[in-house]
Amino acid sequence: MRNYIAVVFNDTTKAYDGLHALWQLDNEGPITVHGTTVVHRNDWGEYQVDSKDTHPALATAVGVGIGALLGALAGPAGAAIGAARGAAIGAASGGAVGAVTDVARADTRDESREETAFVLGAGQSAVIADVSEDTTLAIDDRMRELGGLVHRRAYGDVRDDKWFDDYPYDYYLYPYEYIPPYDPWWA
């Protein structure tokens, strides 16, 4: 079965341990990882997505796309909401598209604050991944050992969300293990 997962950790270092463990499981064979990233939310509720210093043309879409995915992982109602939050992330990156989207969906923003908190609370970090797994045990057991809480939503259900076409977040999940080579401000 194919699933999107969000594994929430209270500690940033543990989130990177979780990321590494996912790719280790892929290497061992019980799961196949199609893409991963790490998302952080600071004590003020702001989101930051681990990424390379991508070309400015890409910066806004990173925020919108991953915000939509966070919302989608919170369930059908969270999909639209996550997109609004994602737009805020994109706007923080300096992109015009994100700002426009944020204004267009401002009516959903208050609701979004509660819905996305289901996946990622203030001060927490999450590993977001697209995986194929025969059972949920391999990931659940390994993440539990590391102190992570796994949220899971079927790939097909996420793709059925009407927001999916608007925000192609798949390509913001790195198709290999990627950890930024610097000390981020939120660590």
Partner: protein, 129 residues
């Protein structure tokens, strides 16, 4: 033994597509002429990955074959967009870089799905002996 060889071939294809995505996204993090210099190497890298896929497709199951064929399509698009990017400037250049990364991401995704397909077959009850 044959299962292992088949899985290894698909795994190598996946590694090649991952490396391509990494190279392009690393290049995109640079500025100006440095991006173009790196972009010039992309069509050749994409072609090498395509050759690798075509060399290993015959031994795959139907699902894996389909995914690998889709990966070839994305790799061909990546090569074309990268070549177009080298010739372009301004907004057209930015668009070409963005498309090349998206194509490479799609190729890596399809290769990864092919790996999942071979693993599913390998662990299915009928495959166990």
């Amino acid at each position: 033994m044959q299962d292992t060889q088949v899985k290894d071939a698909v795994g190598q294809v996946r590694s090649a597509t991952q490396q391509l995505h990494k190279a392009i996204s690393d290049a995109a993090a640079k500025r100006g002429g440095a991006v173009k210099a790196d972009l010039q190497a992309v069509p050749q890298m994409a072609k090498a990955a395509i050759d690798s896929i075509k060399g290993s497709m015959g031994a795959q199951n139907d699902v894996a074959k389909k995914r690998l064929a889709e990966a070839v399509t994305s790799l061909e698009a990546a090569g074309k967009h990268a070549a177009a990017g080298v010739q372009a400037s301004g907004k057209q250049f930015q668009t070409a870089v963005r498309q090349t990364i998206a194509d490479a991401r799609a190729a890596a995704q399809k290769a990864s799905e092919a790996v999942a397909a071979t693993r599913t077959v390998a662990t299915a009850p009928s495959a166990r002996k």
